[in-house]
Amino acid sequence: MGDMPDKKINPRVGLFVTCLVNAMRPSVGFAAVDLLERAGCKVEIPREQTCCGLPGYNAGDLRDCERIARQVISTFEPYDYVVVPSGSCAAMIAHNYHEHVFENEGVWRRRAEALGKKTFELTGFLVDVLGFTLTGIPHDMGELKATYHDSCSCLRRMKVKSQPRKLLRDFCRIEIREMKQTEECCGFGGSFSLKMPEIAARLGDEKIKRAVSTGADMLIGGDLGCLLHLESRIKAQGKSMKVMHVAEVLTGRAKVPSAEK
């Protein structure tokens, strides 16, 4: 992770909602706000945000991506931290902007690098930067059988793996039942799943098989892209496993499946 910025008291946090959360699961955004406020942050959600540019970046539309990146940098650089409920979008801003998008530009690269240093994925931010802990367990879900999917971006780019598990344990008394080969890709890959849906589906199916083998009733993860892809594969296989974002679980927005009966 490099140098950690100084931990500030009541930091001003800009929430980067992400386009998927905005369109498909706003509850993740609200949950993120809840968590950050609970941890003592002053959360602001600038309306001048849409997407981090990752879809175009990966598909080769570097020009539009650059323009979007400039927008993101200008909007978010005033904040103490930028927090993102997604590993892939966080990695885009924290790493790809200055390492690749602006690799040839002096001024924008420096601005991108500065922003990148203070941009974090949600659970990584709460644990590594804020050292967020609670007294007592706000949402006891000890009887929930859950497994966890780490996105490739969280694992390899943002170095997030133990953090969400710690939070789930501390907040909800959930012990994750780990999948075999848990670090395997789910096959989403952004526009990859549009270009090569059969392969993406096959990889997703294999992940679901391993998830189901743990005996879990719920699949939790930190990246909505992966989760929606896996959710569609669960439906395709006719399984009933629930899929939730870690922020939703941590803020009591997830119900233990047996409790619903």
Binding site: S191, E198, L203
Partner: protein
């Protein structure tokens, strides 16, 4: 859809439907990953070894002309001959001509990706020269008239029954039983031993070309490379120009990561350094020693933003850890070089229009970069190829238009939020108010997907909403 896209997807589809291949491939991937892991674990400072090997190659490529000239001079000094081939056809012509001058009729070959690249075997056969592959896996696919399906294990897609059948059909050895692997390998050894002894020419690749001594480094586990370079009277080495290294130490740096990455061992069984022809008739070895250096776009690649791919030592670590390759196998790529490194090299060698679909075969998990012993930034190179492809206007038009429209809308937040709001309303109308996936979006490329439906109004709903609603 463009022709080339159909090829990879088509091949991938066929591979995924092939239960036997899936079972073999799954097993192989597990074995290779375990071996790689063991190799990495065998040296406490493996990361440093990686950095060292990458640095050696990076330095060499920066001075490739100097080192090539040094290598050439030394080879000639030690009694060998050096030829340059700009194109694949050039290389084939040169090798055929060398054979013709010796009146060669029978050739044995060690595993050489360069020879696959140029189609050397076909050229030799057309010239009336019988070629036998001597690497067990290459020999098996040669008998089966198939392309190798994997860099290190060319016949890994076949099970032992299929191989036994091939041997029974092609070896005239009378009634016998080939029902276990040792007996199959023993028969391969016996049959190929005869070929080694009868051969006029031995053709091998090279793992490295050592400039300071004019030597060729060849690594095998079977020993077939050594037999090819010792028994026949003529030894021809075919190699890409990027294989040069400055000194013996530098070859050592590469050796230190090579075997560990492939088989998990500190060293392969046979690592040999060949320098020139034999000194006299009492010595074992070839009378003639030839090195043919192939360009085939390598000098162009060196000049551009994809230079890093020239560090590749053909270890196959990238494809062994690639989720996409693990499901499609090598044949789907329809090219000599497969997996992540193949998806970079093939479009650069054969053209973006012919092989532009390969860089799309990437799910973005970055494992290839993690495991590459030469620290090649494969995911980034693949992305750059996709960018080049986008700028060339190649690729699925609907996808491009859709993505482009999305990106341009994202540049205007108010428009974007209004559009998201409208899309959500539309979606709920199409669902009839129920949480059912929008069926018309459910068929992509003929595959039924089960798209999840939006939760409701978007986060940035232009109509505003109370924050605690959800």
């Amino acid at each position: 859809m463009e022709k080339n896209e159909k090829d990879f997807l088509h091949g991938a589809s066929a591979a995924m439907a092939d239960k036997q291949l899936q079972a073999n491939l799954g097993r192989l991937m597990m074995i290779l990953r375990t071996m790689h892991s063991a190799g990495v674990g065998s040296a406490a400072n493996f990361e440093d070894l990686r950095r060292c090997a990458s640095e050696v190659k990076r330095h060499t490529l920066e001075h490739l002309d100097f080192y090539l000239e040094t290598f050439e001079k030394k080879v000639i000094e030690k009694g060998g001959k050096v030829y340059y081939a700009e194109t694949c056809e050039d290389l084939n012509s040169i090798v055929v001509e060398i054979c013709r001058r010796r009146g060669a009729r029978i050739a044995v070959k060690g595993k050489s990706m360069v020879s696959e690249e140029t189609g050397l075997n076909r050229a030799l056969e057309k010239a009336g020269i019988e070629v036998t592959e001597t690497d067990m896996g290459e020999y098996i696919v040669q008998l089966a008239h198939e392309r190798p399906s994997h860099l290190v294990g060319p016949a890994i897609h076949k099970n032992k029954e299929q191989i036994a059948d091939l041997f029974m059909k092609h070896h005239d050895l009378g009634p016998r039983s080939l029902d276990n692997i040792p007996s199959i390998v023993a028969e391969g050894r016996k049959v190929l031993r005869e070929k080694f002894i009868k051969a006029d020419v031995g053709i091998t690749g090279a793992n490295a070309l050592i400039a300071e001594t004019g030597s060729v480094l060849l690594v095998t586990n079977e020993g077939n490379g050594d037999l090819c370079s010792t028994l026949p009277k003529v030894h021809i080495v075919v190699s890409g120009i990027e294989k040069v290294v400055p000194r013996l130490e530098d070859a050592g740096a590469i050796l230190r990561v090579l075997a560990r990455s492939i088989t998990g061992q500190a060293m392969s069984c046979y690592t040999s350094i060949f320098t020139g022809p034999r000194e006299g008739p009492e010595d074992a070895g070839p009378e003639e020693f030839h090195v043919v250096l192939l360009d085939n776009h390598r000098s162009e690649i060196l000049a551009g933003e994809f230079r890093d791919i020239l560090r590749c030592i053909r270890c196959s670590s990238c494809m062994n850890h690639c989720p996409v390759f693990g499901v499609t196998g090598g044949h789907a790529y329809g090219s000599v070089y497969v997996g992540p490194m193949g998806s970079v090299l093939t479009p650069l060698m054969e053209g973006m229009r012919e092989a532009g679909d390969l860089p799309d075969a990437c799910c973005g998990d970055d494992r290839c970069a993690e495991v590459c012993p030469m620290m090649i930034p494969l995911p980034d190179l693949l992305r750059r190829l996709r960018t080049r492809k986008w700028n060339m206007g190649i690729g699925s038009r609907p996808l491009k238009w859709g993505l482009s429209a999305y990106m341009k809308t994202a540049l205007r937040p108010r428009l974007f939020h209004a559009a998201s709001g409208a899309a959500a309303v539309l979606a709920s109308m199409l669902q009839g108010g129920k949480k059912r996936p929008v069926s018309s979006l459910n068929r992509m490329h003929g595959i039924k997907t089960h798209l999840p439906s939006p939760q409701g109004k978007p986060f940035f709903s232009p109509l505003g909403r109370k924050r605690r609603e959800l």
